[in-house]
């Protein structure tokens, strides 16, 4: 199917006829629109594109895409998508998930899809709350979160999704947010083009149950000083005039610094392709939550054969070694005897 030119499409071609039913003002709308704007640019076909989701607000995403799609079971989308991606390497398989879906009930499937490097593009909408069940704390909620299920404050330490993905041997890890369409589109494009499992955390505002969770970093007036854009090969600096930067302190930890204090040469140069994920991990730990200067962009993008192509190589090798499978011979592969 790749030998024929992919027809030109517009955003409209990628939208299904279903009415979008997220709450008015939900961050999910802008993510949906970023994806629908990006897809016509990717040179892919609608029929070869599949969106798989679990359960939760984010998981309604496939219904709004005019592609193949499956709204499956809470937490299980990465597992289901693994079976599809491994048997159908010709497809573009996207997984749309939320913080509860992928880090709580489905945590196991997420980490294993990442370590296997299954050819999946995983978009994780992180709103730090359970929306569809009407407002309980999530595995990314800050400690002390007051919700219906934690009237005296939540007690559990949250996950840092980027740290978790890096720890799970992910080959592509990025972060973006729902208030910057251009950044989302470029990040999603990079994630899509990565061969293997790509994980994108999208800071997403739930204006009903957790409004303003990321306001302190992505509010228009805070962005310049609170979001740290990562660019491969470039010194890490931010601020309206690039006055802030990121440098190692004397004890091997990354710190936000003022460039004029330390000098530009002291800034850390971002290397998303580093085989060792230590720098990416250190960057993921720079902020303890979305209230401190927070890196966005691609933390890690390294090449490793994707799981499906390794599986296919084994099949090919077996076929070359033993010849294509023959059922009649297989049934006779043990000791046999005959009677006339």
């Amino acid at each position: 199917m790749t030998d024929v030119a992919v027809p030109l499409t517009t955003r409209k071609d990628w939208a299904s006829d279903q009415e979008v039913r997220w709450c008015p003002g939900c961050g999910d709308y802008s993510i949906l629109s970023a994806v629908q704007l990006l897809l016509p640019e990717l040179g892919v076909r609608r029929e070869n594109t599949v969106f798989i989701s679990g359960i939760g607000c984010a998981a309604r995403f496939p219904y709004y895409m005019n592609t193949y799609g499956m709204h499956s079971i809470h937490g299980r989308a990465p597992a289901i998508a693994t079976g599809l991606a491994v048997t159908r390497p010709d497809l573009d398989v996207w997984v749309v998930t939320g913080d509860g879906d992928s880090l709580s009930i489905g945590g196991n499937h997420l980490v294993h899809a990442l370590r296997r490097n299954v050819k999946l593009t995983i978009l994780m909408f992180n709103n730090q709350i359970y929306g569809l069940t009407k407002g309980q704390y999530s595995p990314t909620s800050e400690v002390g979160k007051i919700t219906k299920s934690t009237p005296f404050g939540s007690l559990d330490t949250p996950f840092n999704p980027v740290s978790l993905a890096l720890g799970a041997e992910a080959t592509f890890v990025a972060r973006t947010h729902d208030l910057d369409r251009k950044h989302m589109i470029e990040t999603f494009r990079r994630a899509h083009d990565h061969r293997g499992a790509s994980f994108v955390e999208v800071y997403q505002n739930c204006n009903v149950f957790n409004d303003g969770a990321f306001e302190a970093i992505n509010g228009k007036e805070h962005r310049a000083d609170m979001l740290i854009p990562l660019e491969h090969g470039q010194p890490i600096r931010f601020g309206a005039n690039g006055e802030h930067g990121v440098a190692f302190d004397g004890e091997g930890r990354l710190r936000v610094v003022e460039v004029e204090d330390v000098g530009e040469e002291a800034l850390v140069v971002h290397d998303e392709k580093a085989a060792n994920p230590s720098l990416a991990f250190a960057l993921s730990r720079l902020a303890s939550g979305p209230h401190e200067p927070t890196p966005i962009g691609v933390f890690r993008a390294v090449d490793r054969p994707d799981y499906g192509s390794l599986v296919d190589r084994q099949l090919l090798e077996a076929s070359e070694r033993e010849g294509p499978g023959d059922l009649s011979s297989l049934l006779r592969s043990g000791a046999t005897w005959s009677y006339d």
């Binding site: 029929e47 193949y68 799609g69 709204h71 491994v86 048997t87 099949l315 005959s338």
Partner: protein
């Protein structure tokens, strides 16, 4: 065993017998399963009919020498058709005191005991809980006992290899195998070749095992401690080529065949669990068939990946057992809702919870039938013998593909590990089970343009179209939310839900229309008692029925392969008998289903001991029912060991009776 002829009475005499049941028993590290497997292949080559029953502990290496660590392999070989591994052994090979203690109660009076006397030192006796040495205290006087110092003879035989005694000792299973191979005139060349293949990477092991094997064989021939050796003629067979298969291998091959017949790629998503793992192993070996096997992170991912593969147009399969079945329930429900083909292979084992991982049970039928929230009907197919697992896998796949539904394929620990000779089918005669993917729009959209509705049903099968990603123009979304009839969009409307619930139920119920009618095996046509079974009880029920018929009493038999839906005429058949007796290794799963569906007073014959029914137990239960119907015909009979619940709803445990096992099975 029945002696048919004797040639002389001098040492070296050979007797011809019609059958024998041998049990190899030792510590789980003693290699008894290997010895049993080899003896099986040797017997198959001779052409004996055979049936095997491996019985091993859940622990890989329980403390050596303890009762918990005893591993056994029973084989029944004969010169005529047999169905079961035998109720009790005629010959027990005991490699240590624990193996003796754990098995000797199954050996009937006069049975043969072949004992590794080297293992009966104070320490091993104590570990087995023997206060005194049974070789010396007269407690084995009811048996023919052959004490053979197998450990020291093995070490002596292996001296030329230079192996250390404690390494050489590990070849003693081959000494025992060699000895029994001599005793029953088994061919030895194939085992020597097998040893060379199996251990080829470590020459010293090949040498040691071969020397031990020959030493055992030669010991039998030269030591003259056995009064005779025995020959068992080949059984009569239908013409054709045979191989010996276990249920799990046959099932794996059946899955490969099903994919081949369906012209679809095969995908297995599975998490290792006893006793299902061998299917994963077997399929993983055969990658040249294009089968993709995923050892998933958990049971849920295994079935999830299989369902994802099915969405993409593969034959998706997951295999499991015990608690794994519970974990898959949610995804089975999704598959019911998505109406995609999916096979869930359940190798049943004792439960609840971790239960008895290595022991057989039939206690998952009601789970397969009802174990999901909501109205979620799923077809069920059950294999009845090890080789039947092949055919059952194809049938389960056929139903899944044709009706776009998850299907449970039930096997169990007994079938999975048990083996039997299998008359190989002609591959070209296997059914075509291929189905067509949707390629064209099937509806008109509100804009007047052709469009695709994923839930438009085939009028005959009620199956929805299978439109796989990659097909232009058929892009659609499916999910676990209720769908609008036909168009397939999310729909919460109440009347539509009722329509969809009924549609899903009617689709599964409608499978019955294509099933062969149930036909009881009732040769004389005047039987009043029907033995109704499913799954692995087939062998014992069939053998029990044959015994009763040989005694001149009529009894009918019906064994179900399709458990949901049932064959269309099942109710009529059941109602035409005065008594329907249902032997089950559970507390009455099929019994409950047929009572509920057909209002017949089916009675349960229950056994939940982790082992299959003995033929004698079935025979006694049939005779008791016949006597109850015709009290005048009562004949002197042995006391009953099996209790049937008065109204069929309860049953007490079976008291194993070793007496019948002395008789020929048929």
């Amino acid at each position: 065993m029945t002696t048919k002829s004797k040639t002389g009475s001098e040492p070296g005499k050979v007797e011809t017998i019609d059958q024998v049941v041998i049990r190899f028993a030792g510590d789980s590290g003693d290699g008894m399963q290997i010895a049993g497997d080899r003896f099986t292949d040797e017997s198959a080559l001779i052409g004996n009919d055979l049936s095997t029953f491996p019985n091993y502990p859940a622990e890989i290496r329980a403390p050596a020498g303890t009762l918990a660590g005893v591993s056994a392999f029973q084989i029944h070989i004969s010169d005529h058709e047999i169905l079961t591994p035998g109720d009790a052994p005629n010959v027990l090979v005991a490699m240590n005191p624990a193996a003796l203690k754990a098995n000797v109660n199954d050996l009937p009076t006069g049975g043969t005991l072949v004992i590794n006397s080297d293992a009966f030192d104070e320490r091993d006796l104590a570990k087995a809980g023997y206060a005194s040495n049974p070789l010396e205290d007269g407690s084995l006087s009811a048996f023919r006992v052959y004490e053979i110092p197998m450990t020291s003879l093995t070490i002596e035989a292996c001296k030329p290899t230079g192996a250390k005694p404690r390494d050489a000792e590990r070849s003693k299973n081959f000494f025992a195998l060699g000895l029994l191979s001599w005793l029953y005139h088994r061919p030895i060349l194939e085992t020597e070749r097998w040893i060379a293949r199996r251990y080829g990477r470590v020459p010293i092991v090949v040498e040691a095992n071969t020397l031990a094997f020959r030493a055992g064989y030669n010991f039998g021939e030269t030591a003259e401690i056995f009064e005779s050796s025995y020959e068992i003629a080949p059984a009569e067979h239908y013409p054709g080529t045979y191989t010996n298969v276990t249920g799990n291998v046959a099932l794996a091959w059946g899955l490969l065949a099903a994919a081949h017949l369906a012209k679809l790629p095969l995908f297995l998503g599975s998490y290792p669990i006893t006793p299902a793992s061998d299917i994963l192993h077997e399929l993983s070996k055969n990658k040249n068939f294009g089968v993709r096997t995923l050892q998933a992170e958990d049971e849920i991912a295994g079935i999830g990946a299989a369902l994802g593969a099915a969405f993409g147009g593969a034959l998706g399969v997951t295999t499991t057992s015990g608690p794994g079945l519970d974990l898959k329930a949610e995804t089975v429900g999704l598959a019911v809702s998505l109406e995609l083909p999916l096979l869930i292979v359940d190798i049943q084992r004792g439960g609840p919870s971790t239960g008895l991982p290595t022991k057989t049970e039939q206690s998952d039928l009601l789970h397969a039938m009802f174990g999901r929230h909501g109205e979620a009907p799923v077809p069920i197919v059950a294999a009845k013998t090890p080789s039947h697992c092949f055919e059952a896998a194809i049938e389960a796949a056929r139903i899944a593909l044709r009706y776009r539904t998850p299907v449970y394929l039930l096997s169990d620990g007994y079938l999975a590990n048990g083996s039997e000779p299998w008359l190989l089918p002609d591959v070209d005669s296997l059914p075509d089970i291929s189905v067509k993917f949707a390629t064209e729009p099937n509806a008109t959209g509100t804009d007047g343009e052709p469009t695709f509705w994923p839930y438009v049903r085939d009028p005959e099968t009620l199956a929805r179209p299978w439109a796989v990603p990659g097909t232009p123009g058929l892009e659609h979304r499916i999910g676990g939310l209720e769908k609008q009839d036909g168009v397939g969009t999310v729909a919460y409307e109440s009347a539509n839900h009722e329509t969809m619930v009924h549609a899903r139920a009617a689709k599964v119920a409608g499978i019955a229309r294509e099933l062969p009618a149930a036909e009881a095996d009732d040769p004389t046509g005047d039987a009043k008692v029907l033995m109704l079974g499913w799954g692995s009880t087939f062998a014992a029920i069939t053998a029990g029925v044959k015994r009763v018929r040989r005694a001149g009493k009529p009894v009918a038999q019906l064994h179900l392969v399709h458990l949901n839906p049932f064959p269309p005429n099942l109710g009529e058949v059941l109602r035409s008998y005065d008594v329907v007796l249902v032997p089950e290794n559970n507390l009455g799963h099929l019994t409950r289903l047929v009572r509920a569906d057909f209002l017949v007073d089916a009675k349960l014959l229950s056994k939940v001991q982790g082992t299959p029914f003995r033929v004698g137990e079935i025979e006694e239960a049939i005779l008791r029912e016949i006597e109850r119907l015709e009290p005048d015909s009562r004949e002197p009979a042995a006391g009953s060991g099996v209790a049937v619940g008065a109204n069929g709803t309860t049953a007490t445990g079976v008291v194993a009776s070793a007496q019948n096992s002395k008789e020929a099975e048929l």
